[in-house]
Amino acid sequence: MKAATDKAASAGVQPLAIPTNPALLQRILTAFIRDEVRKVGVERVVVGLSGGVDSALSATLAAAALGAANVLAIKMPYRTSSAESVAHADLVVARTGIPALEVEVTPQVDAYFTRFPDADNMRRGNKMARERMTILYDHSARWKALVLGTSNKTELLLGYGTLYGDMASAINPLGDLYKTQVWALAAHVGVPDAIVHKQPSADLWKGQTDEAELGFGYAEVDALLYLMVDLRYSRAELHAAGFSESFVRRVGDMVRTSQFKRRLPVIAKVSNRTIDRDFRYARDWGR
């Protein structure tokens, strides 16, 4: 009887591991970049290159999709950015052959905070992210290019990003990839090992690492998010799969409370046809 039950249970069980299929992802995402960029009538993208694996992957995919000459990398270090980050960004530039530009954000960030010297790390980090955004959008206008996104699904779901900062982009090839998948794809497309295998960090202040700040590892949270979001496991099923009640609650709360970051601002409805509610068009409308 037990054997029969086990067999029945295993027959219906979905694979728990997050699929990566890097060859397919590479194909889909390069086609996506080519298609969504060109239908807007431009040939180029600009991408902020931090030295981390996400932007390295976005830039590498874009170089393959559009040709290296059509991808402009902008390095935007702050005075506290680690030397390693800058070196790793240069490594990506060398590996892909894309043109690069350095625009240090220190002067504009520091000028602002001389007026508000008590600002904490979070406010400073968010300000840096938003300054970088304005630089990317300015260069997208100068260079007739789209801003290429670098936010992955893990950070988008957790709300671990700056609204209108690093979350801002025109198109984002990584938004449906968990960090685990980003790593697998980055290794597959030839992002340098030093970048793929290092501790992820927003590098907003010295010694910062994502996993220390979040309080859990990407591998662990990706496994949970995959079951919770993609496979729609209930809380009871998540506990049965080995995730603690507190971890499930914490991550669930992060996803729920960051929903605002994934939507347009709330619009007060007064007319019969309100943008995004009953005025509905694809973004690719007429493209």
Binding site: P19, I28, A31, F32, D35, R280, D284, G286
Partner: protein, 337 residues
């Protein structure tokens, strides 16, 4: 005159969302190319004249069947003289159809030799997950085979095929070829195969239906992206043995063609006379029983909700829909033993 050997082509294209003019031009180019390959029938994907995620654009890209655009489509199917003889040509287009009473259907039109021969209106409109068709389209209420210069055929659009009853009805309506224009999104990453999981499921369906109902399946999917949603392509022509006669590229534009010989369906039906053995009475009687049971359950629940003093609907509203009753054969129709 019906031709039992002919060449079918599928134009696996990436239409521009909401741009009928550009897409019509694309149709014309592909029709020329397909004729160049010797195609007798050319199939375009679902809504490929308009694009898929139309949302509020549905009413602005809709076409009446007497519109100039539909006449241009008809003209694409005109006979062209090839050497000395003019050959019949068939073409399937995917459009938003607007009716006289201003309904909008997700329709596929079959043209032959310059005339509109058959219209299929998508009967199953997916409205879940990333799909929202039920919000924008009226639901088709017919599943009919039709006679063409290439034998009896049926058209089912994408989601229609995910309901096995549609292919079953097409087969029992004597279709030997089922054309399936589709707009199937790529989704479901898996490490089990090079393609996404949706591709795997469709290929399973096409091959299963072809073999189970001993007919040809001509599956026409699109490619390209709309708002980040990609379409996986992989159009295919499958014979009644479940064997692929032609397969288009995954994720890229393509034009494929294969020769169909309807006699292959005959061979398969001799070997496995499944359709001959279909018991319509059994199926219909059981379906009627199930419908009556479900209706009775619904009206029972409604009756419980009405308490004394509430205005009751007219009696006629609460009764189960009238049914023709258990199936009986008309006199003289009884099979001879």
């Amino acid at each position: 005159m019906t031709c039992s050997e002919f060449t079918v082509a599928v134009a696996q294209i990436s239409p521009r969302l909401g741009d009928v003019d550009t897409n019509l031009t694309m149709y014309e180019e592909r029709a020329r190319a397909a004729r160049g390959l010797g195609a007798d029938v050319l199939v375009f994907p679902e809504l490929s004249l308009t694009g898929y995620f139309l949302k509020d654009m549905v009413s602005t890209v809709a076409l009446r069947l007497d519109s100039p655009e539909v006449k241009r489509l008809a003209a694409l199917s005109r006979k062209r003289a090839q050497r000395s003889s003019a050959r019949t040509f068939g073409l399937i287009a995917g459009i938003v159809e607007e009716t006289d009473d201003y309904r909008f259907y997700n329709s596929a039109l079959y043209f032959e030799d310059g005339a509109l021969v058959h219209v299929h209106r998508k009967a199953y409109l997916p409205t879940y997950g990333l799909f929202d068709e039920g919000r924008y389209f009226a639901r088709g209420d017919r599943l009919r085979g039709f006679d063409s210069g290439f034998g009896r055929s049926a058209i089912l659009i994408c989601e229609d095929m995910w309901h096995p009853s549609t292919v079953y009805i097409a087969a029992l309506d004597h279709a030997l070829t089922v054309f399936c224009p589709s707009t199937s999104p790529l989704r479901g990453l898996t490490d089990e195969q090079p393609q996404d999981n949706n591709a795997r499921y469709w290929e399973l369906l096409n091959s299963m239906y072809a073999q189970t109902f001993s007919l040809f399946i001509v599956y026409a999917n699109r490619v390209g992206f709309e708002d980040g949603v990609g379409f996986w392509g992989g159009s295919e022509i499958v014979d009644p043995n479940g064997v692929r006669l032609a397969k288009a590229k995954y994720y890229d534009e393509d034009l494929i063609a294969a020769q169909i010989n309807l006699k292959a369906a005959r061979r398969q039906r001799v070997v496995s006379p499944l359709l001959r053995d279909e018991n319509l009475d059994l199926t219909i009687n059981e379906l009627l029983r199930i419908r009556q049971r479900d209706d009775a359950a619904t009206s029972g629940r409604q009756a419980e909700r009405w308490t004394a003093g509430d205005a009751r609907p007219q009696a006629a509203d609460t009764r189960p829909r009238s049914h023709p009753g258990p199936l009986r054969r008309a006199k003289g129709e009884r099979r001879k033993k």
